[in-house]
C-alpha cells in the first residue's frame, strides 16, 4: 500500500534517469521503513496480547509451576526461541534450582547454580539482564551444556521486592544466527515481572495452604474434642477426639451446617455453645445463666442427653475467630468430657453418705448398748450391795461379795470398751466446764482409798502452788484418767505409797493477762510398786496388752484402761508416758499432760488458797513418817500463812517440846514405826505441851493443852483411841478442805454445836444459783428442817427436790440425776449413811452426785463415819447459811450429756 502522495509519482515520471533512480530509491526506502513500522506494530500487538493472556493466566492459575511454564512457553513463542529455562531460588537456599526447561535445555531441570555460575548464576549475581550472542564462546559457560546446543541466550532476573528469586532465560539455535535485541529483552523483562508476581502469589497461596494444613493437623491431634466452623456456621474442622466422643466421622460432618453438629449431642438440631459466640454480651446474662464469659471465651457445663446412645456431662469452651479486619470469620469450640468425673463425684458423695450413715449407726449402737448393758449391770451391783447389807452367813457373804466385785469389774471393762469404741469412732466429746482441780484429784483418791488402806498404802495428793485452782475442761474424764492410773498403782503396789502430783508444764506455758490461755498441766502418778520392765514399757498403752500374761492372771484387767486413758489425755491436748526402772520397790511413774484454760469463774475454794486470816502466824508441829505427807502438809500450811515444823521422828518431836518449843497445834500421823500417833500424843501431853496463848483474855490463866489432830488411814485402829486426846481426827488421803476446816475450827474457838449453837447468820446470796447452777435433792424427813433448808436454798436461787428417807432418795436419783444431795444422816426406813453407800455402789462415777451430810453430831468420829460411808462433805444442823454456801460452792454440776452416752 502506498502512502506517498501522487506528487512523488509525477516527479518520477517527469525527471531525469538519475533523478528517477534517486527518487525510486527514496521510495523503496520509505516503503521499507513503512513495512518495518508495520511489523513493529504487529509485534507490539502480539506482545501486548501475550502479556494480556499471561496476566489473565496469572489470575486463574495458582500453581506456580504451571504459571511459569505458561509464561516461558508464550515468551519462547513470541521471541522465536525454541529453548528456555527457569531457575528458582527457595527462601534461605544458597543455590538456585532449575525448575523448568524448554527444548534442548530441558536437560537443565534439576541442576543448580551458585551465584555467578553460568548464565543463571551471573544474572542472579548482578540482577541485570544478560545477553549472550554466542554461548559456545562465552567465557562463563558451564560444562554441562555441550557445544552446538544453543547460540544466542537472553536471561533476566525474577525479582520480588527488589531481590532476585529466580531467573528466566531463552535461547535460540546456533544456526538461527540472530541475537536477542533490546525490545525482545524488554519483553522478557515484562514477562519476568509478571512471573515474579505470580510466584509471589503462588508462594503465598502455598504458604497459606501449608499453614492451613498444619493448623488442621494440629486441631486434628488435639486431645480434647474440637470443632471449627466458618462464618456461615458450617463445620470446617472436626478432630479425631471429636470423632471418638461423638462416634461421628469427620467426613460426615465437614461442610455441614444447619446445626447438624448438635445432633450427636442433643439428638436434634439446635444452637449449641459455639453458636452463642456471636451474641452480644447483654443477651447473655439473661438467657444463659449457667454459661460464664471470660473475656472473649464462653464456658459452661452442660448435660447432654444423647451422647453415643447414653447421656453425659460436658464442659465446653467456645470463642469467635476473627479476620485481619476484625470481622467475624468463624468460631471454635473445645469440649471436655466430664461424664466420668461426674460419675466419680456422685459415687464419692454416695460413699460419704454411706460412711456417715455407718458412723451414725455405730454411735446409735454404742449409745443403745451402753444403756442396755449398764441397766442390768447396775442391778447386779446394786442388788449385791443391798444383799451385803443384810444378815448373811459367811459363805453367803463371800458369794455376795464375789458377785459384787465381779459386777464392778465387769462394769469397768464394759465402760472401758465403750469408751474405747467411742474414741476410735471419733465420737468422744469432752465437756468444757469449769471445775475445781483439787476436788477432782481428791475425789479420784476417794475411790481408791479403801483398797489402799487395806493394803496399808499411803495415799497423797500434791498440787504445786502455781497450778490454778480451777480449770475449764471435762472433770469426769480427767477423774477417769486419774482413777485408772491410781487403781493400777494401788493394784501393783504392795507396800509404800501412791502419790499424785500436779505441776505446770513449763515447756508450754505462755502468759497473756487478757484472756484465758490454755495452761499445760503435768500430772504424775507415782508408786513404790513392782515396776515395769523396760522392754514392756512401749506395749503398755496398746489396747488389750498386759505387761505379760501372768499379770493378767494375778492382777486382772483387760488392758484397755491405759489405752483409753492415753487417748483421753491426747484428746485433752496432752500426751501420756511412763517411766520405770523395772525394779520392785522403785515402782513406776505414769505421766500425762493436758491443756486446759484457767477458769475465771468458780467461787468457793479461794479461801483454801493464800493466807488465811484465821491461820496466819499459827505454828504447827507435823509428825509423819512419810516424806511425801510431811512435804505436802508443810507446803499447804505455809501457803495459808502458818509456820509449820515437820519431822519424821516422834522422838525428835518430843525433844523439841522438851526443849521448850511451843506450838499452836500438832498434826500426828497414827501409823508410825517408832511410836504410833496415840503414844506420841500421850507423851506430848505428858511433857506439858501447851498452846501459845491465843489472845489477852487467856493471859494469866493456865495455858490450854495444844490441840492435836490425828491423821489416820481408813481401816481402824487396833484399840480405842482415848477420848479427848485429839480434837479432830482426819483420814487420809487428807483433803485440803478437811484440814482447813479443822484448823480454822480449832482457832476460831468454834465449839461443837451441843453447846450454844451459833445463830443462823449471814445474808443470803440470791445470785448463787445463777453463778453455779445445781440440781439439788434434799433428803430430810423432819418438816422443820425441811422447810428451813428449802427456804435457805430458795433464797440462794435453788429450787431443791425433797425426799423423806433413804429409799425415796434413791428413787429420786433413779428418776433423774442430781448434782448435790443434802443428806440428813438420821432418817426412817433407810438412813443417810446406808443411802449413801447404796448410791455410791449403784451409779457410775460419771453420775455420782456430791453428797453433803447434814449432821448435828460433832462428836469425834461422827464426821469421819460420814466420809467413810462415801459422803463428800458435811454441814452441821441446824443448817446455817454460811455453811450451806460454803458446802455448795464446792459442788459442780455433773457433766450434762444426753443420756445414755
Amino acid at each position: 500500500m502506498s502512502l506517498t502522495d501522487t506528487s512523488e509519482d509525477e516527479r518520477v515520471q517527469q525527471g531525469t534517469p538519475e533523478q528517477a533512480e534517486a527518487a525510486a530509491s527514496e521510495v523503496a526506502l520509505a516503503d521499507r521503513e513503512h513495512d518495518a513500522l508495520l511489523d513493529q506494530m504487529v509485534r507490539q500487538n502480539e506482545y501486548l496480547a501475550a502479556l494480556h493472556d499471561v496476566t489473565l493466566g496469572l489470575i486463574t492459575r495458582l500453581d506456580h509451576r504451571e504459571l511459569l511454564e505458561a509464561i516461558i512457553t508464550r515468551a519462547a513463542q513470541l521471541l522465536d526461541a525454541p529453548h528456555g529455562f527457569v531457575y528458582l531460588l527457595e527462601p534461605g537456599a544458597s543455590e538456585m534450582d532449575c525448575e523448568i526447561g524448554l527444548g534442548a535445555l530441558t536437560r537443565l531441570v534439576g541442576s543448580s547454580r551458585k551465584p555467578g555460575e553460568g548464565v543463571a548464576g551471573k544474572v542472579w549475581q548482578t540482577g541485570e539482564p544478560l545477553i549472550i550472542d554466542d554461548y559456545d564462546h562465552w567465557p562463563g559457560r558451564v560444562e554441562q551444556l555441550q557445544p552446538g546446543l544453543v547460540g544466542a541466550i537472553v536471561c533476566v532476573a525474577l525479582k520480588s521486592d527488589g531481590q532476585a528469586v529466580g531467573v528466566i532465560g531463552l535461547a535460540r539455535d546456533p544456526s538461527a544466527g540472530r541475537a536477542f535485541g533490546e525490545e525482545e529483552t524488554a519483553l522478557l523483562c515484562r514477562f519476568a515481572q509478571l512471573a515474579a508476581v505470580g510466584l509471589d502469589n503462588a508462594r503465598l497461596y502455598s504458604a497459606a495452604q501449608e499453614t492451613q494444613r498444619r493448623l488442621t493437623d494440629i486441631i486434628d491431634f488435639l486431645p480434647d474434642p474440637t470443632m471449627v466452623m466458618d462464618e456461615e456456621s458450617r463445620v470446617i474442622a472436626w478432630n479425631r477426639a471429636m470423632e471418638q466422643l461423638t462416634g461421628v466421622a469427620a467426613q460426615d460432618m465437614l461442610g455441614k451446617g444447619d446445626y447438624e453438629y448438635a445432633i450427636p449431642f442433643y439428638g436434634e438440631r439446635r444452637p449449641i455453645l459455639i453458636d452463642l459466640v456471636r451474641l452480644p454480651e447483654e443477651e447473655f446474662a439473661h438467657k444463659y445463666a449457667h454459661i460464664s464469659r471470660q473475656g472473649s471465651v464462653l464456658a459452661g457445663e452442660t448435660f447432654v442427653p444423647r451422647l453415643r446412645g447414653t447421656s453425659g456431662y460436658l464442659y465446653a469452651t467456645a470463642s469467635a475467630l476473627r479476620d485481619s479486619k476484625g470481622d467475624f470469620a468463624g468460631a471454635i469450640e473445645t469440649i471436655r468430657d466430664l461424664t466420668e468425673r461426674k460419675q466419680a463425684e456422685v459415687e464419692l458423695q454416695q460413699a460419704k453418705d454411706a460412711a456417715e450413715a455407718a458412723t451414725q449407726a455405730k454411735s446409735a449402737f454404742l449409745a443403745t448398748m451402753s444403756h442396755e448393758i449398764r441397766t442390768p449391770m447396775n442391778a447386779i451391783i446394786g442388788m449385791s450391795g443391798l444383799l451385803l447389807d443384810t444378815e448373811l452367813t459367811e459363805d453367803q457373804r463371800e458369794f455376795a461379795e464375789t458377785i459384787r466385785n465381779s459386777g464392778d469389774a465387769l462394769l469397768t471393762i464394759i465402760n472401758d470398751i465403750l469408751d474405747f469404741s467411742k474414741i476410735e469412732a471419733g465420737r468422744m466429746e469432752l465437756e468444757q466446764q469449769p471445775f475445781d482441780l483439787r476436788e477432782c484429784l481428791e475425789s479420784a483418791l476417794d475411790l481408791v482409798k479403801l483398797r489402799a488402806s487395806e493394803k496399808g498404802l499411803e495415799l497423797a495428793c500434791e498440787i504445786a502452788e502455781a497450778v490454778p485452782l480451777a480449770i475449764v475442761g471435762d472433770v469426769t474424764r480427767l477423774r477417769q484418767i486419774l482413777v485408772n492410773l491410781l487403781n493400777n498403782a494401788v493394784k501393783f503396789t504392795d507396800q509404800g505409797e501412791v502419790v499424785v502430783s500436779v505441776t505446770i508444764d513449763t515447756k508450754t506455758v505462755t502468759t497473756s493477762p487478757s484472756h484465758p490461755v490454755p495452761v499445760a498441766l503435768h500430772f504424775i502418778v507415782r508408786d513404790t510398786g513392782i515396776g515395769i520392765p523396760a522392754d514392756r514399757l512401749d506395749r503398755l498403752f496398746q489396747a488389750f496388752s498386759q505387761v505379760d500374761a501372768s499379770t493378767t492372771r494375778k492382777y486382772g484387767g483387760t488392758g484397755l484402761g491405759l489405752a483409753v486413758s492415753r487417748r483421753l489425755s491426747e484428746l485433752m491436748g496432752g500426751i501420756m508416758w511412763v517411766e520405770s526402772e523395772g525394779v520392785p520397790g522403785k515402782g513406776s511413774a505414769f505421766h500425762f499432760t493436758i491443756q486446759a484454760p484457767e477458769a475465771t469463774e468458780l467461787p468457793g475454794r479461794s479461801h483454801l488458797q493464800g493466807e488465811s486470816p484465821a491461820l496466819r502466824g499459827r505454828s504447827a508441829l507435823i509428825v509423819d513418817d512419810s516424806d511425801t505427807n510431811r512435804r505436802i502438809l508443810t507446803l499447804q500450811m505455809q501457803s495459808w500463812g502458818m509456820l509449820p515444823r515437820a519431822t519424821g521422828s516422834p522422838h525428835e518431836a518430843l525433844e523439841w517440846v522438851r526443849q521448850g518449843a511451843n506450838f499452836d497445834m500438832a498434826v500426828l500421823d497414827l501409823y508410825m514405826p517408832e511410836m504410833d500417833g496415840v503414844e506420841l500424843a500421850e507423851a506430848l501431853r505428858a511433857s506439858g505441851m501447851s498452846a501459845v496463848p491465843a489472845d489477852n483474855t487467856q493471859a494469866g490463866k493456865s495455858p490450854a493443852p495444844t490441840p492435836l489432830i490425828l491423821l489416820s488411814s481408813l481401816g481402824g485402829y487396833g484399840r480405842e483411841i482415848p477420848p479427848g486426846l485429839f480434837s479432830v481426827s482426819l483420814t487420809k488421803p487428807l483433803k485440803a478442805s478437811a484440814l482447813f476446816n479443822s484448823l480454822t475450827g480449832l482457832f476460831a474457838g468454834r465449839r461443837a454445836p451441843d453447846h450454844v449453837p451459833e445463830s443462823v447468820s449471814g445474808r443470803p446470796d440470791a445470785e448463787m444459783a445463777r453463778r453455779l447452777p445445781l440440781r439439788i435433792l434434799l433428803a430430810e424427813d423432819y418438816v422443820v428442817n425441811q422447810k428451813l433448808a428449802l427456804r435457805l436454798l430458795a433464797q440462794m436461787g435453788y429450787r431443791a427436790d425433797v425426799a423423806a428417807n433413804g429409799l425415796e432418795t434413791i428413787q429420786a436419783l433413779d428418776r433423774q440425776p442430781y448434782d448435790v444431795v443434802l443428806m440428813d444422816v438420821q432418817m426412817p426406813e433407810m438412813d443417810g449413811l446406808e443411802a449413801t453407800r447404796e448410791i455410791r455402789a449403784r451409779w457410775p462415777a460419771a453420775e455420782q452426785p456430791r453428797i453433803i451430810a447434814m449432821t448435828a453430831n460433832a462428836m469425834q468420829g461422827d464426821r469421819e463415819i460420814c466420809l467413810e460411808a462415801g459422803m463428800d462433805d458435811y454441814v452441821s444442823k441446824p443448817i446455817r447459811v454460811d455453811e450451806l454456801v460454803r458446802a455448795l460452792s464446792r459442788c459442780s454440776p455433773l457433766a450434762r450429756r444426753p443420756a445414755p452416752e
Partner: protein, 119 residues
C-alpha cells in the same frame, strides 16, 4: 425459868435474819415445829415402852435439832440426854426424862406463840 432462858432471843433473831426478815415465813416455820412436836413426844414414849432405843434416839435427835433452831436451848439439851439414852440403849428412867422435857416444851410453845404471834 425466865422467858429469856426458855427461848434464846438471839437465836430467834438470827433465824429471822437468815430468812431475809420474812416474819411470815418464820411464823410458818414455828407453826411446823409446834405441829410436829407432839408427834415426836408420842414417838419417844412409844419407843421407851417397846424398848426401842434407836427409835428413842431418832425422835429425840429430831426434836433436839428443831428446838435448837428455835432457840429452845434448854429443851434441846434435855433432848440430847434422851438421845444419848436411846443410843446407849439404857432406857431406865427415860420415861421421867420425857416428862421433864414435855413440861419444858409447854413453856417453849407458849413463849414461841407469843414471840412470833402464831395462833
Amino acid at each position: 425459868m425466865t422467858e429469856a432462858e426458855i427461848i434464846d432471843q438471839r437465836t430467834l433473831d438470827g433465824l429471822l435474819e437468815s430468812l431475809g426478815g420474812d416474819a411470815d415465813f418464820l411464823r410458818e416455820l414455828v407453826g411446823s415445829y409446834l405441829d410436829s412436836t407432839p408427834g415426836l413426844f408420842a414417838a419417844m414414849r412409844q419407843a421407851v415402852t417397846t424398848g426401842d432405843g434407836a427409835g428413842l434416839q431418832r425422835a429425840a435427835h429430831t426434836l433436839k435439832t428443831g428446838s435448837a433452831s428455835m432457840g429452845a436451848l434448854a429443851l434441846a439439851a434435855q433432848c440430847k440426854q434422851l438421845e444419848e439414852k436411846g443410843r446407849s440403849g439404857e432406857l431406865d428412867g427415860a420415861e421421867a426424862n420425857i416428862d421433864i422435857a414435855a413440861a419444858a416444851y409447854e413453856d417453849v410453845a407458849r413463849t414461841l406463840r407469843y414471840r412470833v404471834q402464831v395462833s
